[in-house]
């Protein structure tokens, strides 16, 4: 029970900071002072206190969809180890549950978008569903490879200690997987170069146009969920790259925090240095993520290290 509360505490408190770090980095590159680090928290709290506007077309799916997706992604966070803390719930095969929970959250967001009957939201929903089809394969392959290397079917087994020795033996594989994972992270969390939340034209957006009509608390939930999802992906990537072990709690924990802040900076740098890709180019990005992970698999098979 205490581990569950601790885990939930981290999941509730930390993620918006990551968004703040990204914004700050982008502001630095643009030569501005930028919003304070804690701006995402202020935004979420502000939205939580606001009233909502609902379309007369919409049903309960529009109103509750964002809440469902927040709850489901929080539950997905429960099976994922964070920093040096094992997941409160872990079992063989929780990899699959994790990915399917993300899928469930997405399904309800897509339905909520279609519920408005707006063609913009339909467009966003359609793009989100299409691109996530492709990134889902990559996530599955990556996690399969990691499971194969760490010989465990549970996320805690993989990301806490399972990969530490693999860096010595099959480093290149892990580099490929990390690269592929980073690309998927960008696309799943609608960052540049896949999606640009700050553009002024709805026609070019993916995720942002899908949530165009939400307001008030629902929008707050969406904002928080976005941060949470980024945090979950980031924590997987950082744990994998650092090869964390469940011992030496303070040192490893410090590494993790530095790692995840570093990830925020890297994403910020990527966002500052790149422009958004044209929509049909996004596919190539996803293909290359897939190809990275297929290469990683081939390297494993050729070396025969299993």
């Amino acid at each position: 029970m205490s581990s569950l509360i601790l885990h939930l505490g981290i999941l509730l408190a930390f993620p918006p900071l990551l968004l703040g770090v990204i914004t700050k980095t982008k502001a630095f590159f643009a030569g501005r002072r930028g919003a304070p680090l804690c701006q995402p928290y202020y935004d979420i709290f502000k939205l939580m206190r606001k009233g909502s506007v609902y379309s007369v077309t919409s049903n309960w799916i529009f109103r509750l969809g964002p809440l469902i997706s927040t709850a489901v992604i929080l539950a997905a966070g429960i099976v994922l180890p964070i920093a040096v803390f094992k997941a409160p719930v872990q079992f063989g095969g929780d990899i699959i549950l994790f990915i399917y929970l993300l899928g469930l959250a997405r399904f309800f967001m897509v339905l909520a978008a279609l519920d408005t009957g707006s063609s913009f939201e339909g467009m966003g929903a359609c793009r989100e569903a299409t691109f996530s089809c492709l990134s889902e394969i990559t996530i599955f392959l990556n996690l399969t490879i990691l499971a194969l290397l760490s010989r465990g079917l549970s996320l805690s087994g993989i990301f806490l200690g399972g990969l530490a020795s693999s860096w010595m033996q099959v480093g290149p594989v892990l580099i490929l997987v990390a690269a592929s994972f980073f690309l998927v992270l960008l696309s799943e969390n609608s960052r540049i170069p896949v999606d640009d939340p700050e553009t002024h034209l709805e026609l070019t957006m993916i995720h942002e146009v899908m949530v165009l009509d939400h307001s008030g608390m629902e929008l707050g939930c969406i904002l928080y969920t976005q941060a949470l999802k980024l945090f979950l992906f980031g924590s997987m990537l950082v744990s994998m790259v650092l090869g964390l072990m469940p011992r030496n709690v303070w040192g490893q924990g410090l590494y993790f925090i530095l790692g995840i802040l570093g990830l925020g900076v890297v994403i910020g740098v990527v966002e500052s240095a790149m422009a958004r890709l044209r929509l049909n180019r996004v596919l190539y990005l996803l293909y290359s993520a897939l190809i990275f992970s297929i290469f990683a698999l081939i390297v494993i098979l050729v070396r025969g290290h299993v």
Binding site: V53, T70, A125, C133, E136
Partner: protein, 660 residues
């Protein structure tokens, strides 16, 4: 066994009763309802009793009653598992059919239809329990013929007759392979009894030959791509409750046949497993892609059946490969996953077909792009369809997730226990399964969104009427099973493992607890947490909304003043980007007619996918057969003396052959 026999007896008796009472339409319908409930409940208890070891007399023999062979039926856990799904689904679909045809005013005799329905249940039960190849084939053929009559209920329509004809031809072609297969096995084993057949050893090459025949024969029924062409035609043509039964039970009988062969023959070469995986991947991915390209809701569901058959076949494939690699754990999980998905698919696909039927009954159209916003006017149907969609996408909280999880689990175990070649196969299958899952979610977001969300796109929307309790109750039953199977999966999991026992040497209980039931319990725990989180958020929202204002406005139309419902994203446009990505395998085409001039009229856009196996495989084959028949037409002159001459000629030839 007594239970099953009495259930079958009720079926048989009700057939005669209904035919006798056929003139009294109402009375015979009520006879149907009563006998259906009685026979299905009896059969259900029998199947559940076998799966929980409470029933021990498992065989019934009655010597010398059909020519050449004995009448021998028996239930093992495998049969019991399929009987379970047969009785549950035919109960639900039958009650729905009773309600659906209540106000039928056409020329067909409904009593005959209902007695055929009962006969179908009877012969399917016979197929599932037959332990003799001749009996099996007789029941199999009966099943095909009876279901043909059920499918062509609306046979005043040309396309229904066409679809029925195609169905009959396709499954007969399959039966040809089956007769050949059982003949070869019978000659090899010296008996047509399955027990005797299982005792003899089959050389690997011979087993491979049998396997190919079985895949061809049973695969036509199951709807493996490219043998599936009858399936998307027959499902929309049939009345709704028959489509549900076709998709839920009938195509699964093909899967049952394949599994039965695997229990009899035992050892197969590795390429058989790879063949199954390949079929699974092709059927799964292409099935869902074709489904995405459909505009008609029943056709979409029919293609989804092919996709799910693909997932089931993937489970069977990993089961067989695990068996070949002597990894009994992997094999056991794989087979059980296939069985569980068979059951789950029967339940949620039945639910989806029934609720789609309600939609069609209310709107009088199956075109998704002419619907929209139906959740408000058909709330029950809409929410039941939503439950079915969530289940079929394999999303957590519903039963589809448990079986997909188990299938993934089998492949991941395979990754750990196989050699490099096996790992490669397993990884390819995992990627395919992930793709299938994503595409299925997209497809049902499209279907549910286009039909139930947004506003109505129809040019003349009428006031739609929700169906009554007789139509809702079977759907509610199936939806409840979906939810129960997702939240408390332990019972169905243990049934599935029990059902898979005839195929492996492992015994279920001790292995089950460790590897499957504990994780399944954990899944429930996580889902429970998710529900708690949701309730907390919902409460927070309730409280915070007390002090805030809520506005209700029109959906923002980007400042455009005359927004109409035709501006919404349609089902076709929703599926377009992903179909563009996969345009090669499904030959996706968009054709637009843009009219020019000062007063443009008649612009249009149409998109379509083409079934490659129909165009590239079946059309040339049928064309060839047609040409051949035409070339031989001169034999059939229609002039009687010629035919007498043929007989004489044949007799002379036989005489000469005998004299030599």
């Amino acid at each position: 066994m007594t239970l099953l026999l009495s259930s079958l007896f009720v079926c048989a008796a009700s057939i005669f009763l209904m035919l006798a009472l056929a003139r009294f339409k109402k009375l015979s319908s009520y006879v149907f309802l009563g006998s259906l409930i009685a026979s299905c409940l009896l059969g259900f208890f029998c199947a559940a009793g076998v799966l929980t070891h409470q029933i021990t007399d498992l065989a019934f023999r009655w010597r010398g009653t059909i020519p050449f062979e004995e009448f021998y039926i028996a239930i093992d856990p495998l049969s019991a598992f399929f009987l379970l799904l047969l009785f549950i689904l035919s109960l639900a679909a039958g009650i729905y059919g009773f309600g659906y045809l209540r106000d039928y005013k056409g020329a067909r005799n409904v009593a005959v239809h209902f007695s055929l329905y009962q006969l179908l249940i009877l012969v399917i039960a016979l197929v599932l329990t037959a332990r003799n190849a001749v009996l099996f084939l007789v029941a199999w053929e009966l099943m095909t013929v009876v279901s043909y009559f059920l499918v062509t209920f609306y046979n005043e329509k040309e396309e229904v007759r066409q679809a029925g004809y195609l169905y009959l031809i396709a499954t007969h072609t399959g039966t040809f392979c089956l007769i050949l297969m059982f003949f070869l096995m019978g000659v090899h084993a010296g008996s047509m009894n399955f027990d005797q057949m299982a005792l003899s050893a089959y050389p690997l090459g011979f087993a491979g030959l049998l396997f190919v025949l079985a895949v061809l024969g049973f695969g036509v029924k199951a709807g493996f791509i490219p043998l599936h062409i009858w399936l998307p035609q027959a499902h929309p043509a049939a009345p709704t409750h028959i489509s549900a039964l076709l998709s839920g039970v009938l195509i699964k009988i093909g899967i049952y046949g394949l599994i039965r062969l695997m229990t009899i023959v035992g050892n197969f070469p590795l390429w058989c497993g790879i063949l199954l995986l390949a079929i699974g991947i092709i059927s799964g991915v292409l099935g869902v892609l074709y489904a995405l390209g459909q505009h008609e809701i029943k056709k979409l569901l029919a293609y989804h059946s092919i996709e799910n058959i693909g997932i089931i076949t993937l489970g069977l494939g990993i089961g067989l490969i695990g068996h070949i690699y002597h990894q009994e754990t992997v094999s056991f999980i794989g087979y059980a996953a296939a069985l569980l998905h068979t059951f789950n698919h029967a339940v949620f696909k039945g639910l989806l077909f029934l609720s789609a039927g309600s939609v069609i009954k209310a709107t009088h159209t199956g075109e998704m792009d002419h619907m929209g916003g139906l959740l408000k006017v058909l709330p029950w149907t809409g929410h039941l369809f939503l439950v079915g969609s969530l289940s079929i996408c394999g999303l957590p909280l519903f039963n589809g997730f448990i079986s997909e999880w188990l299938t993934f689990r089998a492949f991941l175990e395979g990754v750990f226990h196989f050699d490099l070649y096996g790992i490669m196969l397993a990884c390819i299958a995992i990627a395919a399964l992930a793709l299938i899952g994503g595409l299925a979610a997209l497809c049902f977001a499209k279907a549910f969104g286009a039909v139930f969300l947004g506003t109505n796109r129809s040019s003349h929307p009428a006031d739609y009427k929700e169906g009554d309790l007789v139509l809702q109750a079977p759907q509610l039953l199936l939806a409840a099973i979906c939810l129960w199977g997702g939240v408390f999966p332990a019972v169905m999991l243990s049934y599935a493992f029990e059902g898979a026992r005839p195929m492996t040497r492992l015994t279920a209980p001790e292995f089950l607890q460790e590897a499957v039931l504990n994780p399944a319990f954990m899944v429930t725990k996580v889902l429970g947490l998710a529900v708690i989180f949701f309730l907390v958020l919902w409460l927070v929202r309730k409280i915070s909304l007390c002090s805030c204002t809520i506005d209700r406005k029109e959906t923002w139309g980007c400042g455009y003043a005359r927004v109409s419902s035709r501006m919404q994203y349609t089902a076709s446009s929703f599926a377009r980007p992903v179909l563009r990505i996969f345009r090669l395998p499904v030959s996706f085409k968009v054709e637009s007619r843009i009219s020019r001039g000062y007063f443009p009229t008649g612009a249009g856009l149409s998109s379509s996918v083409k079934d490659a196996s129909e165009i590239f495989i079946f059309r040339p084959v049928f064309y060839f057969i047609k040409k051949l028949s035409r070339a031989l037409k001169w034999i059939q002159s229609g002039f009687t003396p010629y035919y007498i001459l043929y007989i004489l000629f044949l007799l002379v030839v036989l005489l000469i052959w005998k004299l030599h």
